[in-house]
Amino acid sequence: MATETAAPPVDRALALEMLERMVVIRAFEAQANQLYLSAKMPGLTHLYVGQEAVAVGVCSALRQDDTITSTHRGHGHCIAKGAELRPMYCELLGKEEGYCRGKGGSMHIADHRNGNLGANAIVGGSAGIATGAAFSAARLGTDRVSVCFFGEGALGQGLLYEVMNMASLWKLPVVYVCENNLYNEYTPYEEVTAGSILARAEAFGIPGEEVDGQDAIAVHEAASRAVARARKGEGPTFLLCQTYRYHGHHVGDVDRSYYRPKDEEQRWASERDPIALLSARLGSEAELDEIRARAEAEVAAAVEYALAAPYPSPGEVTAHVYA
């Protein structure tokens, strides 16, 4: 366990900011689901609801110039790293004002100004990009840190282990954040994951730490330790964040009884909800109502804007194939 570096205590102002970000993510996702249900959004999307403490806990330990790579379930990472909601909804709807001019969509949203190198629709596909961003951070003489978010499903991909090996060999400033939401799409992870997850990191000489992924403060503290190690040139860290995906694999995955029981879903939502846990810890129930109202108003305005925003013109289709 990498607990040797004591993180500074999280003050109330920062904790409230984290709470607000988590609430914004949840409100964003609720609207994204509505856009799907009302057939206003092309394609599908994968909701981050339930996992908010991981993205917010980690990204609140980062600077704007630190980079992240994200996953197909990436809206939470994007918001937590500082993205604005208007260009995010525009991207989800394929509009020209989207972060990627509508060419990426939910699964490829990237926000380069805030260091988000992109969501990725190939499970584990961004492990190389994140590790390469850490390589350049070190070689260019910066103290940038790179974070690689991935679900436990990516533990089945060989690329992850190839780059973890190099990150450890070359002491690269990268934090591998495994979000174990218990399901590889529609399959319980225990059915497809042998041995110990942390031992996989430790086999490469990468310190690993298991974190309660529903506890934003715990995630923030663990991430702060990992980021501090990376910034000091001490190499990569692996964080195993235990969390839970409230919705299905994607918005269309509504009947889930064949792979997980309803009472399990209810138990996580009622006993382990990251927003409720942080709010209770802060004694911030009154502030939470205000935060929710603010988030919902912000989300509603952004969706309204995006729905009215123009699509790219068809001539745009051949732009940006080459730089």
Binding site: C100, A110, H112, L117, G118, G128, L159, V321, Y322, A323
Partner: protein, 335 residues
């Protein structure tokens, strides 16, 4: 050849030396360039192409990697997206199979998927070509796989001059670029200017002028075409040899202009003939020069078999100057 070459002092270099010079010059010119690959440092790569680079630039810029082709390609991509210009060495073109997700789903698409806000100035060097007695997993020419994917650029140098100039262009290009080098050609010599030059992408080179038939040839097949042209000259056939030099972007105009002039064309490419680069090149000139054609455009590529180990079997899998000579004679109605 461009006339710039005639105006400056030149010397003879092998293909391997020309590649080495290109890399050394770009490493010197731009501190964000680095090389990564298996055995690229002290070993200088199995073909010794990179000999001496680690001594000049050190192990921080010429990195021996684990045997993790996908990993080094992904790492290179991430570094490219964040301010560096990596050159990833994939020892054999057959190992493209191991890096396809990083190349096709990641590198090729990042600029487009991000609406032009991210880019990947990544160069991948790899090899092609049979007849080295290396068996089915070290002898393929798989450039068509990547030429098929929008967002990638593909270079196929056939001479030391082109190798040096195209690699320098590749490293300076803001797009992911794959350079295929014929491993049988590393010892071949050619004239290279002493000074600085680059060969731009998308500019074909007429390697020999002629009026009767056009041989459009890539990489290893350029030399087969030039030798066949010599044989054909002895039979009164005046052969033009056109080398596209890059498959993506492709200089359609030069190819089509040559075939409009000669009225006959054979496309030579060492990739598998079916669904290969030769099919695309043949289609381009068939469409562009249709009203000028005196005969159907022909293709000659690798036979559609896994490359066999046994020499007499392997040798018949690829076009040779003799088979090209026979095909061209037939096309020109000579016996």
């Amino acid at each position: 050849m461009p006339s710039v070459q005639l105006a400056v002092e030149t010397r003879e270099l092998t293909f391997a030396q020309a590649v080495n010079e290109a890399l050394a010059e770009e490493l010197r010119r731009d501190p964000t360039v680095f090389l990564i690959g298996e055995d690229v440092a002290e070993a200088g790569h199995p073909f010794k192409v990179l000999k001496g680079l680690v001594e000049e630039f050190g192990p921080a810029r010429v990195l021996d990697s684990p045997i993790s082709e996908a990993g080094i390609t992904g790492l290179g991509l991430g570094a490219a997206m964040t301010g560096m210009r990596p050159v990833v060495d994939i020892m054999f073109g057959d190992f493209l199979t191991l890096i396809m997700d990083q190349v096709v789903n990641q590198a090729a698409k990042i600029h487009y998927m991000s609406g032009g806000r991210l880019s990947a100035p990544l160069t991948i060097r790899t090899t092609l070509g049979a007849t080295r007695r290396s068996g089915a997993q070290h002898s393929q020419s798989l450039h068509a796989w990547v030429a098929h994917v929008p967002g990638l650029k593909v270079a196929m140098p056939a001479t030391p001059y082109d190798a040096k100039g195209l690699i320098k262009s590749a490293i300076r290009d803001d797009n992911p670029t794959i350079v295929f080098e014929d491993k049988m050609m590393y010892a071949a010599k050619g004239v290279v200017p002493n000074g600085e030059y680059v060969v731009p992408f998308g500019v074909a080179d007429v390697k020999r002028e002629g009026d009767d038939v056009t041989l459009i040839a890539t990489s290893s097949m350029v030399h087969v075409a030039l030798e066949a042209a010599e044989l054909l000259a002895g039979h009164g056939v005046d052969t033009e040899v056109v080398d596209p030099r890059t498959l993506v972007p492709l200089d359609r105009e030069t190819l089509i202009a040559s075939v409009r002039k000669t009225g006959r064309a054979i496309v030579l490419d060492e990739g598998y003939q079916s669904y290969g680069a030769s099919a695309e090149l043949a289609a381009v000139v068939s469409e562009g020069a249709f009203w000028h054609l005196d005969a159907p455009v022909q293709r000659m590529g690798a036979m559609d078999v896994p490359i066999p180990f046994s020499p007499p079997l392997e040798d018949v899998t690829v076009p040779t100057e003799k088979t090209v000579f026979e095909m061209a004679k037939m096309l020109c109605g000579r016996s």
